[in-house]
Symmetry: C2
């Protein structure tokens, strides 16, 4: 019999315990925020009918669907996002009360070309309010993004928002027809990378790039481009000022008042709730997923890790279930790329650092004392202290303490016949000497104040461990 090689297909990966612990902590925190907001959890199966999945997907998304076959040979695939299943649920269970404010945290699958940090199975955390046109739904999603990032202790962050409606006003203002708009926005999207000079040329007559390739121009007039530039220059430190300026700029455009009013109301709600300009900015240059969104759009960036881009984004989209019901239902939502956010948090050193759930390892020094070890283990567990009793094959304390180090368990108990006679337990602070301890200012002084191991009367084990854990967690 030949051995099977243990391996995964490309783009797939395992999450080993240290990664999982950080991820679970992060997801639990996000869940906590949205449950406080009264969002309710939903779960849908991984497998959907292909026609359910593919209608709404772009060409690219359709190609990336993993096909699945069942005994009935139906056309099935793995979901590639959580929005399509939500739309199906809304259409399928007409009795669900509306607004339906749900969150779902689940894996999705895309058979894209795998790349560094890009996987074929990844987790999304989505939240959506379905069945409401109220801008308070949008407000609440933005506020929730701020609360989430605060709860995750990511450090300075900024939620930027804008609205597809404002971009529609720009089209009118600059005299650009609907047909040309997709191209114009595509070019504007290059602003950060290419700079205003090249964008200006591409909007008008085109140019030859460094490698000599011709970049065809869109043929806009000088006047049109000037108007676009005036829009791009509507920037200010406060949302209030941005609103005032964009009102001025578009004062001649029909219908501008009502559309800008919506944006202003969201901004004012946020001010009233304590989400100031330092946390939420009105940035008219963002233009997420234009084909998809119909109203406000928003995204969050971590100011200390801008290279990770938007870790959280969303907007209003009102055609969610059109494909199923032939009827528009308003909806607004956001999605967190769990993996990208976790990568950013890890980069910032803001993730949970635990490699194990256990805080105490009871070593197994003498098999004759098994009942004592078990009694200690359960005493600690029953006091709510996560505890592991070493049941591996290593005999001496050396290798067992190495095991505690591998899992970064902070406390180890040593108990042999000597300790038993004296009625004590030797409690070893494993964090002394580990990397983490080096963070302390005066290491020498700190180490001197920490004996590394102490003898604790057997009857006082639980309070002694509670005290020591308190000290360790202060570091």
């Amino acid at each position: 019999m030949t051995n099977v090689e243990p391996r995964l297909s490309r783009g797939l990966r395992d999450l080993l315990p240290d990664q999982m612990l950080a991820r679970q902590q992060m997801i639990d925190t996000i869940r906590g925020v949205y449950e406080l907001y009264g969002f309710v959890p939903l779960n849908t199966p991984a497998i959907e009918f292909l026609d359910v999945l593919s209608g709404s997907a772009g060409q690219e998304a359709q190609q990336s669907i993993f096909r699945v076959s069942n005994p009935e040979n139906e056309a099935l695939g793995l979901r590639f996002d959580l929005t399509v299943p939500l739309a199906r649920v809304i259409a399928q269970y007409r009795e669900l009360p509306r607004p339906f404010r749900r969150y779902q945290v689940s894996p999705v699958w895309r058979a894209d070309k795998p790349d560094k940090g890009r996987f074929r199975e990844f987790t999304q955390f989505d939240l959506d309010s379905v069945g409401t046109e109220s801008e308070i739904a949008d407000t609440e999603i933005i506020a929730g993004m701020c609360d989430t990032l605060t709860a995750l202790k990511v450090g300075p962050h900024l939620v930027r928002f804008s609205s597809r409606s404002i971009l529609n006003l720009l089209l009118k203002f600059a005299g650009i027809d609907e047909q040309q708009s997709v191209d114009v926005f595509r070019v504007l999207d290059k602003l950060d990378k290419a700079g205003i000079e090249k964008v200006r040329l591409e909007l008008m007559q085109g140019y030859k790039d460094e490698s000599g390739d011709t970049i065809r121009g869109l043929g806009l007039s000088q006047e049109q481009v000037t108007r676009i530039e005036r829009f791009l220059n509507v920037k200010a430190d406060s949302r209030r000022d941005v609103v005032t300026r964009v009102r001025d700029l578009f004062s001649s455009v029909e219908g501008s008042k009502d559309l800008i009013d919506v944006v202003e109301r969201i901004s004012n709600h946020l001010y009233a709730l304590g989400y100031g300009d330092d946390r939420v900015s009105l940035d008219l240059s963002i233009a997420r997923g234009l084909a998809y969104y119909t109203g406000p759009v928003f995204e969050a960036i971590l100011l200390d890790a801008p290279q990770f881009g938007s870790v959280f984004g969303g907007g209003r989209y009102d055609n969610l279930v059109m494909r199923f019901l032939g009827e528009a239902i308003p909806a607004v939502g956001a999605s967190i790329g769990v993996d990208r956010l976790l990568a950013a948090l890890t980069h910032l050193g803001k993730t949970g650092q635990q490699r194990s759930t256990a805080r105490v390892l009871v070593t197994n020094m003498d098999p004759a004392l098994a009942e004592d070890y078990l009694a200690m283990t359960w005493e600690l567990r029953r006091a709510g202290i996560p505890t592991e009793f070493y049941i591996g094959t290593a005999k001496g304390p050396g290798k067992q303490l190495k095991y505690a180090d591998q899992y970064e368990i902070p406390i180890a108990l040593l108990y042999g016949s000597n300790e038993k006679t004296r009625g004590i337990v030797t409690v070893k602070d494993m964090t002394v000497g580990r990397e983490k301890a080096k963070a302390v200012g005066d290491r020498k002084e700190w180490l001197a104040a920490r004996p590394g191991q102490i003898a604790v009367p057997r009857g006082e084990l639980v309070p002694a461990i509670q005290r020591l854990l308190g000290e360790i967690e202060k570091v």
Copy 2:
């Protein structure tokens, strides 16, 4: 454009918010127990190579694998359990410290014929200790099963355990060869359903059943069957007595002492830790997955819902990674059928009853007061009280209160210009009049003591809600 029908393929289902809330609460509780035990989380992708999946599966399991195709046309499938991925992980990451005590809670897929309560995607909660022969690992899994069921407040429950080794002793004792053993155990497994008379006949000469079909006998002798029956009669209320009796019975069988010693040690550890005969019984008649397990086996039943069968089961299996490494690694584990356990808990009325996360609905009686509603909503959220502000299309309070009822939100706030002038908020206890309230002994008296709604000074909203929630949760 034709509408797509919103639907799922057979055997698949959505978990709507009320089901998800109960399930999450259950899973969080189980996770809490095993994290206290120092088990660490693992996650593996849904998609595995077919040769990784199928080698260890029986013929039946192999047929039930959902095939998946990727752009590289590799032979892939969805995992059908969590044990095979664990084995792959152990073989693939040789550097993982051992023992490796992990839990994983994930969906698995089987393309079986769907049936009532039987789905093609379902969730398993698995825990395993890999790389240890210590019977303390087995002890800890049994103790954890008890702690889990206690934490879930399932009411009276019993963990039954036995050992494959004891059954091997039976084979020797009754002079049954290895080849015949599978058939013998298959017949013994019918004991509960068919009764001892038919089992006895089938072990010997066979018989004709009610419909006239011939049930072929295995041809055992009277003496062999007598010996088997003597084994089946080894029953007692205490584990201690079962050990004594089985020792007596098998005293003549070579090697019986050591094998029974292992079982006795597990039993004694459990006694010492407070898991008495009322919670864990030694029941030699259980014979879970004989082809698979190599040592102790265990299962849990809910005494108030025995019809759900074993909700939790496992055992020792030492050939986990043989297929990958050509080497035996000892392991012991258990698996919880999350869906079956949840169904049993629901049947017993022991699941969380919440249909929403929100505890308070701030109704939207007057759009002019939006800022007030938002301020109240955020005050409550910031005090840790899950709160929803009604943002749906219903205008009057009647329909909005109906929405609170649909989600079973216990408290609703009413606040109009009248309340604003008086500086108060009307707080409505929505549980008065709901089904739940009927459980209270003297309903009339109870209702008289509950005004249903109270006027609370605006400035005292948070403490008033905290008080009322406390009262409501006491019911």
